[in-house]
């Protein structure tokens, strides 16, 4: 991991991941605030963020625990929110499956929406990257994001100050994700996949435990794969 190309891949990932701090810091603060409000100690709040590193699942678990929902249901619901991580894992495998096991385990621990989205766009657009370069890029995207997730959870837990609603932080996450999606729409098949996923996600919004997201994701993937086959067939016939 010392060659100049892996180093530059790391710093490229670092630059790609930097904008997400704008989202990570306020969200982690908010989690710290809500966790201590729910009666967790500062240490417990921090351990939550260190163990799980997944904002949506943490908020879900916290909310359900304050409602006295049975522990098994809390776990099942929060893990359902995190099911998309398994899809991310599958999607990363062709690119980094050849890396040493300890590196793959570390990648797994820091697989979050932001690191995955940045990295997959990069890996797809630069197929000549070596496996060590890909791993370096991936870690570059999270080297700030993850420590800041812990740090600002701690700050939120200690200070316990609310962020004023004028900041409209609720919309920070949608905006950063929307900004990530645009570079992904490379072919007609990608556009069809995205459009299908959006329509199904809105129709399936009522499915409990956030499972509508998984259904929508699978439908989008199938639509994209099918569109790819059709577009290739049409090209072959032309």
């Amino acid at each position: 991991m010392t060659s100049s190309t892996t180093k530059s891949a790391f710093w490229e990932g670092f630059r790609a991941g930097a904008p997400f701090l704008l989202v990570i810091m306020p969200f982690a603060t908010l989690f710290g605030v809500l966790a201590t409000e729910a009666g967790l100690s500062v240490f417990e709040s921090l351990m939550f963020s260190v163990a799980v590193i997944a904002g949506a699942a943490q908020f879900t678990a916290l909310q359900l625990m304050t409602e006295d929902v049975p522990t098994l249901i809390v776990l099942a619901s929060a893990l359902a929110v995190n099911l998309r991580m398994a899809m991310y894992s599958a999607s990363l495998t062709p690119y980094i499956g050849a890396a040493p096991l300890w590196q793959r385990a570390l990648v797994a621990y820091v697989t979050v929406d932001q690191s995955y989205a940045c990295s997959i766009v990069k890996f797809e657009s630069a197929p000549q990257m070596s496996v060590p370069e890909r791993i370096a890029y991936f870690f570059g995207t999270v080297v700030l994001v993850c420590p800041m997730w812990y740090t600002f959870t701690l700050i939120g837990a200690v200070i316990g100050a609310q962020i004023p609603p004028e900041f409209a932080l609720d919309f920070a996450l949608p905006i950063t994700f929307l900004a990530l999606i645009a570079p992904m729409l490379r072919t007609g098949a990608h556009v069809i996949a995205a459009a299908t996923a959006i329509v199904v996600a809105l129709l399936a919004a009522g499915i409990p435990y956030n499972l509508g997201l998984i259904v929508a994701g699978l439908c989008g993937m199938m639509a994209g794969a099918q569109a790819e086959v059709w577009l290739e067939q049409r090209k072959a016939e032309a």
Binding site: S89, F171, A194, G220
Partner: protein
């Protein structure tokens, strides 16, 4: 708001930590560098472009801040983010255009 039982809390923290890691590791860890069939790879190519829009769409159409009522400033901000992203292919530019639009609209409308 009742106090959360510490045993239940640590069960959730540890269980959710292990479970989340397992979900993230299941394919990279178990499949590794074994080749996968072409049809699976073809589907996996569309994971990101399907999941991320599916994650965001409900948040844009039914924002949490307005208790799920469609909100013009947020809708316009989302649109500006997408258009800027498509036009510039630059994540930074899209984020700043979207955030700028949101604050401007909230200031004008709110």
């Amino acid at each position: 708001m009742s106090d959360i039982d510490p045993v239940a809390l640590w069960t959730v923290i540890i269980g959710l930590g292990i479970g989340s890691f397992a979900l993230r590791f299941v394919f990279t860890g178990l499949v590794g560098d074994r080749p996968m069939p072409a049809w699976i790879l073809r589907h996996l190519r569309y994971t990101a472009v399907a999941i991320l829009p599916a994650l965001v769409a409900p948040l844009v159409v039914w924002p949490a801040a307005t208790d799920g009522a469609f909100d013009v400033p947020r809708g316009v901000a989302a649109l500006v983010t997408i258009v800027t992203g498509l036009a510039t292919k630059n994540v930074f530019a899209a984020i700043f255009a979207g955030a700028g639009t949101l604050y401007a609209m909230l200031y004008l409308v709110g």
